[in-house]
């Protein structure tokens, strides 16, 4: 019998090491290229709907109270920064048997962003999710740049700053390209 306790202690410390932002950024993680349906059962390719956009994916279900609180602010961010090439893509993980409730809830809440279905949590797992609320930020080339777990009231301010940083980066990139063209 091989005891693995020591191995896991090592893993624990490696985890700390790898969780340093600079190291994480070396490993490029892409938005998964998967087909997914929206809440009206229309098939969509995730990479198509997010193409050329800075995207915030949020994963939620009806039982997740903090997720629903966070979505109120995500809706504001989506409306506020959509014209700057940013969008929120919301991914619901309720099973189809709760879909009637989800559709009514989304409509009642007046969300302006797209809501997609991931009943088997395939996309959630592919993006490395394990608990909710789970938010993934990606750049306009489909690279995942950051992930957030959990939500407390007040966290939305830091999230908005992060979104503004992303958009600023895009504006800078456009400026560089324009300058290159002018030169």
């Amino acid at each position: 019998m091989i005891k693995l306790k020591n191995l896991f202690i090592v893993c624990f410390f490696i985890t700390f090491l790898f969780s340093d932002d600079k190291i994480v950024k070396i490993i490029k993680e892409k938005i998964p290229s998967v087909n997914i349906k929206d809440i009206n059962k229309k098939k969509i390719k995730l990479t198509d709907i997010s193409k050329d956009y800075y995207v915030l994916f949020n994963f939620w279900n009806m039982a997740c109270e903090p997720c629903k609180k966070e979505m109120k602010f995500l809706n504001i961010f989506h409306k506020r920064y959509n014209e700057y090439g940013f969008k929120v893509i919301s991914i619901n993980m309720d099973t189809p048997r709760s879909m009637s409730k989800v559709k009514k809830y989304v409509k009642k809440s007046g969300y302006a962003f797209d809501v997609l279905q991931d009943p088997r949590m395939d996309v959630f797992k592919k993006m490395g999710g394990s608990i909710m609320p789970f938010v993934v930020l990606a750049d306009n080339e489909g690279n995942i740049v950051n992930k957030h777990i959990g939500f407390n009231l007040g966290d939305e301010k830091a999230l908005e700053e992060e979104i503004k940083e992303l958009i600023k980066f895009k504006v800078d990139t456009i400026k560089v390209k324009l300058n290159e063209n002018n030169d």
Binding site: I2, F18, R97, S100, K101, K104, G110, M121, L153, G154
Partner: protein, 580 residues
Amino acid sequence: MIRLAIIILFSLFLSQESISFNYESKYGNGTNVNDGSNGEESPYSYFENLLDVNFSYKNLFIYTQLEYSNSPIYGVDRIEIENLANTYNVEYSHLDLFVKYGHIQSLYGYGLSVNMFQDQTTNFDNRVKGVEIKYSPYDMFDIFYISGKGNYGIKSSADKRINNLLFDHELDLLGTQFYTDFGDISFIYSDKKTYYLADIYDNLKISDTRIANDLEEYWLTNIGDTWNNLIESDSEVNLRSFNIGYGNSLGNFDLYLEYDINSYNKILRDKDINGASKFLSIATEVLGVDFLYEFKDYDMVYYMPITSSPPLVFNESSSVLISRNQHSIDFSDEIGHQFESRFNLTSDISFLMNLSIGRKHSGIKNELDIFDENGGINFDENGNIIYGTYTEPTFKDLYNMNFLDKDLVAHKPFRDFYIEGSGWNKNNNIYFKLGYQSHYSYDNVSGKNYQSNSIPTQFVYAFKNNNSFTCYYETQQTKNLSYGFSNEYTFFTDEYEYMSLSYHFNKFGSLSYFIDSEYKESIDKSQYWTGWEMSFELSSSMQFSIFQGSQKGGLVCANGICAVQPSFEDGTKMTFRVLF
């Protein structure tokens, strides 16, 4: 293990495209008080480590979950390298084709025929290990196939940490789904085999289900050598099912119905009997108010549904106290209705109302009713006593829930009424929720025989410096009904309170205090559980929390399945979680 090593090495080779990790470690060390009559204390500890590894390369995706647990919160220890892989699967998708090999987590329709998943909070796992193929050549047509084997475990009593009743099972399924302008329609044919080992029958027949009653009756008719011979042999139950589902949006109405008709043999017997599961859902909106009606009729009373998990058709609450007395569904024997309505008073204040009722198909045999009209005992042609039957309750009976109605009580009914108001202030820095639940359940055999009223509340306030304060306060009063020898009910009232106060420091973490209390009138005793938790946000995707104190044990329910979480006394719990 060699297979796993090949998968990991292959994955690392391909991982140039994308790779992600997710690590969670849980440690706890304290004592556990037996909630039964003896109140004995015993050491209670766990050390659970889960490492999820995701690799993707073009159209290939590989998922593995490695586990080292000594001991886990639920389930068996995993300390040997052979047991390291808790879950793995390899997925390939290209154009219209999707192929998955490994642990199959799948759902078709609303789950009356197939809904396989793993839930570690309740130690539930009905997945099969095998292959799933899906081909979608056109937007309006899917064809799918699943074949695999699994090992399903349940507990002979809810407070066990390890599933001690295990069943091997097999699934072969072929289905198709059409998406048309006239609605979506699906057809699924499945063949399910469940294997029962010889030493399991005695455990099965002491549980409180129709399948147990059936085994008990079979035992009584074959008592002696015949039974002894029977229980020494393994048996196989084979179910063949045909499932049809239809969903459509007609104007303001969303409609879904699913019908699963099946045929199976009883345990230890070859003769087939028929069963069926039916589900209907209608949702609409009238004058800004949403209405939902759902109906269930799950009637396959001598079968243990394993790879399916149909809709619950009752409200699942996130309240701590309400979830402790949530209805525990029997997917093989239940009929019920759910009405739900939502509306917004303003754009920031919403209301929810839910009424759910349900019962078993038939009352247990009426052992008090064995006499004919002349006062003599009724016997059948073989000399067995013929017991009376209970009258089927009406919808009105279920709504009224009169515990003195013996016909109603025999059907083990429940009624759950929940109303909730929640909302935000204009500045979005105050959130509140206030609810009320009335839950009546009459099931004397399983001990769920009570009338309960609960009030859950939640209040959140965000300060200008982005810190926030959260308060959950819940109170519950439960009248437990005991059926005495004199055919009279007596009541004992239990009172419960739960409060959690939490202050969140922005970008740093939270400090929380919990208090859980109960007063039991039957023993005139009060108890308290208190604890502190400090959680640290080490980064946006890394958290560490430490808990010190005691936590009350109780039911943890999810997806209609409930598990008893042991109480935790005077100890320390630590959780570390990171995505990278």
